[in-house]
């Protein structure tokens, strides 16, 4: 990397790292230290091919997602990310208000597997179509669909308020093909 490339790299990091850090934080379930490590690893990879990247941001996002899923594979015994401390809801008396629900959702998201969470971030935060998710994460569209399905079923189990009928049903969350997100 020559001086000019290094200058452009530093400018890029200054401009885009907040947005990339947001994605990394969601991928790590709110663990900002892990998110910073993840982003730094991706940036170190980008340095190696900086002069050849047409779209550095797209490359970095792909590395972030793939790196995170690869990390999950390496640490396959540690399937759930450390749950970050989350702020308590202000209005406890209204336990199903929107603010409380969003906090419950964060806790639930943090308890998903890395892969499940990555799918949901791509689908619901990045608005990627299924085929793009499959390409980014290196899996089939069918796997994207089934993993998303299970992730959503697990969220519904963890946040029962999402589904008023859930309390009366016998859940087999995470495995049941009949669980749907409605």
């Amino acid at each position: 990397m020559n001086d000019e490339e290094e200058r452009r790299f530093r400018e890029f990091v200054a401009a885009r790292s907040p947005a990339l850090m947001r994605t990394a934080t969601l991928l790590t379930g709110g663990d900002t230290h892990a998110a910073e490590d993840l982003l730094q690893t991706a940036l170190a990879k980008a340095v190696g091919r900086w002069g050849r990247l047409d779209n550095p941001e797209a490359y970095l996002r792909r590395v972030l997602y793939r790196q995170q899923v690869s990390l999950w594979r390496l640490l396959s015994t540690r399937r759930e990310t450390t749950v970050a401390e989350l702020p308590d809801a202000a209005g406890r008396e209204d336990s199903t208000g929107p603010a409380e629900l969003r906090i419950q959702m964060r806790r639930a998201l943090a308890r998903l597997t890395v892969r499940q969470r990555s799918m949901l971030v791509l689908r619901y935060f990045e608005d990627c179509p299924e085929r793009e998710v499959a390409e980014l994460l290196g899996c089939s569209v069918g796997t994207v669909r089934s993993t998303t399905h299970r992730a959503l079923a697990k969220l519904r189990k963890l946040v029962p308020e999402l589904d008023p009928g859930a309390a009366t049903r016998d859940h087999e969350f995470g495995n049941s093909p009949s669980e749907v997100w409605k």
Binding site: S76, P98, L120, P177, K182
Partner: protein, 391 residues
Amino acid sequence: MNADRLLRDTLREWAEETPPPPGPDLASRALLRRRRRRATSLTVAAAAFALLAGGVAVPVLAQSDQPVHSGPGSLIDNTVSAHPRESPPRHLIAAGDVAVSAYQSDWKTQTQDGVERTTYTWYVYDRGTKRYEKTRWGWLDVAPGMRQAAVLEKTLPASRVGILDLDTGKVTKWIPLARKAGGVQWSPDGKRLVVTTYRGYPDVETSARDRFTPHARTGYYLVDVDSGRKEYRPMGVDTGDSSVGAGRIDVRWSRDGTLLVVPTPPGGAMETWYDLDGQASEKAPSYEGSDAAPSGLSPDGRYYTVGDGWTATVKETRTHRTVSGSSGSMTLAWADNGRLVRWECRPDRGCTRGMGERLVLTDPAGRSRVPLTGYRYDDSPREWEPLITRR
């Protein structure tokens, strides 16, 4: 609040609260890390050169506990044909009872009116030229025995299914279909076909439900190949919140040929099983599900594989115990009672499906590994997806 909306809002709000990273430090640390890594690589290279210059014999890291020949293109023994430098393969890839009979490659995706349409090119192994040859078919499946294939013409959905003789390259029979077909699969005994029908071109993806419907699955035919007799069963696809997206959702056979699995039927289930008379059946064993490892039960029934669509593990049928060392990339087929064909990731890096992995032949415990193909992507920019068939 709508659950879908709540999930989006939660993710957005969470992202917005993320503290900014230490900007200048982040760039400097990434640069430093890269320089250190480069320095380490150079040191290793220099050390290797010094060893070679000094005439010191360096043992190569073994890929297997047992000696195997895995040259640039090789017939390892009577049962294994491997080409570890070819990706996609040009020459026959086979092991034990199974072979890569065909593969898909050359993906082309076009977007029009918010609908992504992907086309594939199929390559089939030709016994005459002893190579995989490009075909003109829109979709195909090779029959067990690799003597014939069921083919659909390029413009999917097709109004007939052909039976292709793989020795002569000629279609010996056309079976007309009143409903147009997008997918086909042979039964394990090679006597019947399940042909999935679609309203429009099946390999599409869109986030707009109204644009997906004109391409959706409509049902399937069960076809007796010899007599040409066929039976049609309407079977649409779930269009609820959980299923909008990709078009192709083919009906397929269970490994023993007694059941058919219909993924995402109307009503929101992931899959429903039917017997050959069209009656809904009890759920099949866990190794048969839509997301299970394709390898399933070993021929002698001693082992079975479980997977999650990404990784797979071998278990003992009698005890349900995991075979030590068996967890890893996806298992695709049993070559015989004691060997599996599976994907294997390049060990020095993270890899994902379609990138940085190759086909290997391995024992259930993963001790012996014979490379069958080159690494996908790394050895060639062309992505490919194998079709593995009993030979």
